[in-house]
Every structure is written in structure tokens, then in C-alpha cells.
């Protein structure tokens, strides 16, 4: 009998750590595309996912923008939901208890109109049972500074980071807006202000016009573009930020297949978030996870960190 030499199949290590928070794998559900968590129960095995990022919460409930709020564009989705949410108190009271049985770490995304609001939000989450980290959306307008987004000014981005770090011991992930001239400048500022990690990119500002009715297609005129259309932009920015800071970077932007996710991991992202793809195919995150594992087995990659390209 011929002795068939079988190479032992490796069992890849996908576990990662972000600001001291251990995750069993690097595939997370992005804020704003997985609701308050339980909406996806039954359509996705939430226990398999690396992390769940709850939709952006504000200090008070927000009704959101007038419709139309969505327009489909080539390979993309433009939205101006207006950050509709129930507010942090209602979330902590009504939704968080429902999530206690899920074994996957919960990360809450927060947004504010002022540095003080960000501070207050982070303080309230600090003691909440079951919340493992905070992702901070700094793409919102700073009301006190004439509506300029916190995330487009390096100093303001840094002061939000300072404020939330002061308010809580939870790991802080700052989510960057791509609507800036130099993303690395903002990234460096928030890193030196104490951020534990950076996630990027938020949506790209865009618009569409309805030529039949001769008016902007979104009631809000402008909206955020997401989906596969923005992936190359996101990947470029992740590559740049990974090489500009020493803290972990989480890649977001148009990831809908394992190949997409692998590109981000090769660019140096510690983890990825699945956003718009979940809206279209609720099971995407699990498929991406399986695909990454298969790739690592096939290519004999022992640890997910080793996917990162050297350059």
C-alpha cells in the first residue's frame, strides 16, 4: 500500500484583540446595518460573529430624516436616515437585556452634537453590563462650531477622543469619516489623544437627482454612499492609516465577500466590519468568516495577523 502523505490540516487562529478586548474572530457587524442586534437573530448565528456593533445611539431619541431616505446607485446605496435611534436610555432599558444571552461581544456606537454629549454617553455606557467597547461616530455635525463634522477637524476629533477616554475605561474605537483631505492627519490625532483603535471608513458624502421629478432624490439632498462602490476608496484609506498609527485599525467599506475582507486584512486591518452587505444578505458575515478560514487553511496561514502584507 502506498503511504499517502497527508499534510495535517491546520486549524487557523482567527482570534484577535482590540484595545484589550479579545474577539474570537475579526468579522464584526457594522453599526447601522444590524439594528439593535436581535433583528438578525434566526437569520444569522450571532454567536459565531466576532463582534456586534449596535446602531448609533444619541443622548435623546432621534426621529431621523424625512423620506425619501434611500437611493440605489450603481453598486452602491445612498442613505440619509438621519441617525434615527431610540436614545441611549431606551436602549439600556429595553434592548440590552434581550442581548444578554448572546455570547458575542457587544460594542455600542455613539454619536453626539457636542463634546459634552459624547462624554455623557460614554459615562452612561461605562457601567452597563454586557457592553465591551464603544465605537464613536465622529461624522456628526458639531452644533457649537456651525455644523462642521467633528471628524473633519483634527483638533475637534482629538477633543472628542479625550472626552470619551476620560469618561470610561472601556476600549474606545474612533470611527473616521472619509470626507477629509488627509485621513492620516486625523488618524494620528485621535491615536495620540488616546484612542484604542480606529475604524474606517464611514460613508462617503454623495447625492443623486431624480430627473423625472427634477429634484434631489433624497429629501435631505445629500446622503452617505456605501456598498461595493466605495470599497477601493476604503481600502486605500485603511492601507494609509495602518501605516500612520500604531493602534489597531478596523476596515469598513463595501465588504460583501471573503475576498473583499481578505483584501482589508492584507492591507493591515486587524478586523473588518460588514455593513451594507448584511442588508442585502443577512448571512454575509458568516459567509465571510467561513471564506477567510478556508483561505487560511488552503494557503497555510496559521494566524490571521499573518495575512498582513509587509509593505
Amino acid at each position: 500500500m502506498i503511504n499517502q502523505k497527508k499534510s495535517t490540516p491546520i486549524s487557523p487562529d482567527l482570534s484577535i484583540s482590540i484595545g484589550g478586548l479579545g474577539l474570537k474572530n475579526p468579522v464584526l457587524l457594522a453599526s447601522g446595518t444590524c439594528g439593535y442586534g436581535m433583528e438578525l437573530d434566526d437569520l444569522l448565528d450571532l454567536d459565531q460573529i466576532g463582534g456586534i456593533i449596535i446602531k448609533g445611539l444619541s443622548i435623546r431619541p432621534r426621529p431621523g430624516n424625512s423620506p425619501p431616505r434611500l437611493v440605489e446607485t450603481p453598486c452602491g446605496l445612498l442613505n440619509s436616515i438621519g441617525l434615527e435611534n431610540m436614545g441611549i436610555e431606551a436602549f439600556l432599558r429595553d434592548k440590552l437585556p434581550l442581548l444578554r444571552n448572546i455570547k458575542t461581544p457587544l460594542i455600542v456606537n455613539i454619536l453626539g452634537n457636542s463634546v459634552e454629549e459624547y462624554f455623557e454617553m460614554a459615562r452612561r455606557l461605562d457601567g452597563a453590563e454586557g457592553i465591551k467597547a464603544i465605537e464613536v461616530n465622529i461624522s456628526c455635525p458639531n452644533v457649537k462650531a456651525g455644523g462642521i463634522a467633528f471628524g473633519t477637524d483634527p483638533e475637534t476629533a482629538a477633543s472628542v477622543t479625550h472626552a470619551v477616554k476620560k469618561a470610561t475605561g472601556l476600549p474606545i474605537i474612533i470611527k473616521l469619516t472619509p470626507n477629509v483631505t488627509d485621513i492620516t492627519e486625523i488618524a494620528r490625532k485621535v491615536a495620540s489623544a488616546g484612542a484604542d483603535a480606529i475604524s474606517l471608513i464611514n460613508t462617503l458624502l454623495g447625492m443623486a437627482i431624480d430627473i423625472k421629478f427634477r429634484r434631489p432624490a433624497l429629501a435631505n439632498v445629500f446622503g452617505g454612499l456605501s456598498g461595493p462602490a466605495i470599497k477601493p476608496v476604503a481600502l486605500r484609506m485603511v492601507w494609509q492609516v495602518v501605516r500612520a498609527v500604531d493602534i489597531p485599525v478596523i476596515g469598513i467599506g463595501g465588504i460583501s465577500t471573503p475576498d473583499d475582507a481578505l483584501e482589508f486584512l492584507m492591507a493591515g486591518a486587524r478586523a473588518v466590519e460588514i455593513g451594507t452587505a448584511t442588508l442585502i444578505r443577512p448571512g454575509t458575515a458568516e459567509e465571510v468568516l467561513t471564506g477567510i478560514r478556508d483561505y487560511m487553511k488552503t494557503n497555510n496561514v496559521q494566524n490571521v495577523k499573518n495575512l498582513r502584507l509587509p509593505a
Binding site: L70, E72, N79, I81, T276, I280
Partner: protein, 264 residues
């Protein structure tokens, strides 16, 4: 509750009129749990193409005892045109059944008012009411070609009337006039269930609310997920600053919950 996301085999794709199609798929899990007025999100593109990106929401028109569900739809945009090119034997992903359907109340006369392809969300309801109550069906359309499946309705009740704007089927006229006439003739309590163009549903609601007749409406909105994740399908509420979400709280609403002032 969020339904099933399943690969479904296409059994039938029939062109019934110029741009109107009947699509039937094998989806036993969805069929078993479908209530009248619910909908599915259907993948329209082939080979994981990303353009168009989103699935399309379609009302469940019919269910078969053999695990099949059917959709009656008009190929109007890029997505539905692509869907109409999918052939029997191909697999498409279908997520459903989704949303809150009609709430059936049997102890009164039920009047179904369907405008154009709005009839697509009313057939299962009509079949449900037929079991136990008095059923009046009123259908209006621009022309006969817009409503190629009226026989599915006319066989359910002898109180069936159809009007078209060009007189190509039934009497020539407007559905609102037909409803007005019907409301004058009926005795006892009644309920209205309607689906059709926004302006028609608005007119129906105004007409019946004056008579204090309860009215349920099935609404449409641009939608990305169908399961309450994106909050894109917002419709203004009648009595506050907030919004209703068509996918999760609807698509069927009590008409007085809806702010009808907007154009849509």
C-alpha cells in the same frame, strides 16, 4: 419572526401582459408561515452581480398547497426587469415572509379596494375573508392590461366590480366613485382594506374616514433590507414627529396612523 432567507427554485415566470409577470417559486418554509399582506425580498441579479445592489420587495400574491408562492409584479425599473428575465429552473434567494399583514376581522362586511397592481397584496386576504364573511371586491385600473388576473378575484364573490379609466374592462370610471356608490348601498358595519397608488389610497381613506369606517392600507417604500435594520422605509406618522417603518411595522397600517399630506 424575521422570516427565512432561502434559495428558491423558480417554477414559473409568465408574462401576463406587456410588463406584468407572475413569478412562482418553491418556498415551503415561507409558504407555511405567510399571512395575507406580507411580502418577501427577492434577489434579482444573477451571479452575485452587485448592480443593482438591493433586493426587491414584492407582496406575496398566492400560496399553493405544494409549497409554492407566487408574486405578481410589474417590470418597471432595472431590478424588476432583471427579475423578469430569470427563468424556471434558476435559483433566486428569497427572504420572507416579512412585515405585518392585514388584521382580519370577520364580523362585518369587508370591502377590498385594489388599484392597479395593488391587487397583488389583496388576493390572500380575499381568500381568507371568503371563508367566513361577506366580501365585496372593488378593483380599478387604467386599463384591462394593468390587471390581468382579475378572474382570481371575481371567482371569490358575486359582489365583484371592476372599473377602468378607458373602459377596456368593466365600467368606465374611477374606483373612488365605485366605492362611494357601494358605501351608500351597504347596510351594517364595514371595513375597508386597500392597496394601490398613494393618491387612490389617500382618497379612499378620506372618503371612508368621514363615515367612521375603519381602513387598513398596504404601503410601499424604497427599502434596502426588509427587516428593520436600515430604517430606510420611513413614512411620516399622522400624529407626531416620528415615522412608521413600512418593512417592520407595516406594510399594512391602519390608515389613520399615516400622515397622508405628503406626496409620494
Amino acid at each position: 419572526m424575521p422570516g427565512f432567507d432561502i434559495p428558491a427554485n423558480i417554477v414559473e415566470q409568465t408574462r401576463l401582459a406587456h410588463s406584468i409577470f407572475l413569478l412562482t417559486v418553491d418556498a415551503p418554509a415561507i409558504m407555511d408561515s405567510t399571512d395575507p399582506g406580507q411580502f418577501c425580498m427577492l434577489e434579482v441579479q444573477e451571479n452575485n452581480s452587485k448592480d443593482p445592489l438591493l433586493r426587491r420587495p414584492l407582496s406575496i400574491y398566492k400560496t399553493g398547497s405544494n409549497g409554492q408562492i407566487s408574486f405578481l409584479y410589474k417590470a418597471v425599473g432595472k431590478g424588476t426587469r432583471l427579475l423578469s428575465k430569470r427563468r424556471p429552473g434558476e435559483i433566486i434567494r428569497v427572504l420572507g415572509p416579512l412585515g405585518q399583514g392585514f388584521r382580519l376581522i370577520h364580523d362585518c362586511t369587508s370591502i377590498l379596494v385594489g388599484g392597479g397592481l395593488g391587487i397583488a397584496s389583496l388576493l390572500l386576504l380575499a381568500q381568507g375573508i371568503k371563508q367566513s364573511g361577506r366580501l365585496i371586491i372593488l378593483i380599478g385600473a387604467k386599463n384591462a392590461a394593468e390587471i390581468p388576473t382579475v378572474e382570481d378575484f371575481s371567482r371569490l364573490t358575486r359582489y365583484f366590480h371592476v372599473v377602468t379609466e378607458d373602459g377596456s374592462l368593466g365600467q368606465r370610471g374611477m374606483i373612488t366613485d365605485l366605492l362611494d356608490q357601494t358605501l351608500q348601498e351597504i347596510t351594517g358595519t364595514a371595513r375597508i382594506y386597500t392597496c394601490g397608488p398613494w393618491s387612490m389610497m389617500k382618497a379612499v381613506y378620506h372618503m371612508v374616514s368621514k363615515r367612521n369606517i375603519p381602513c387598513q392600507v398596504s404601503l410601499e417604500a424604497a427599502m434596502a433590507c426588509g427587516i428593520g435594520l436600515c430604517l430606510g422605509c420611513a413614512i411620516p406618522k399622522s400624529n407626531s414627529r416620528g415615522f412608521l417603518h413600512v418593512c417592520q411595522e407595516g406594510p399594512v397600517f391602519d390608515a389613520d396612523q399615516v400622515h397622508w399630506g405628503q406626496n409620494s
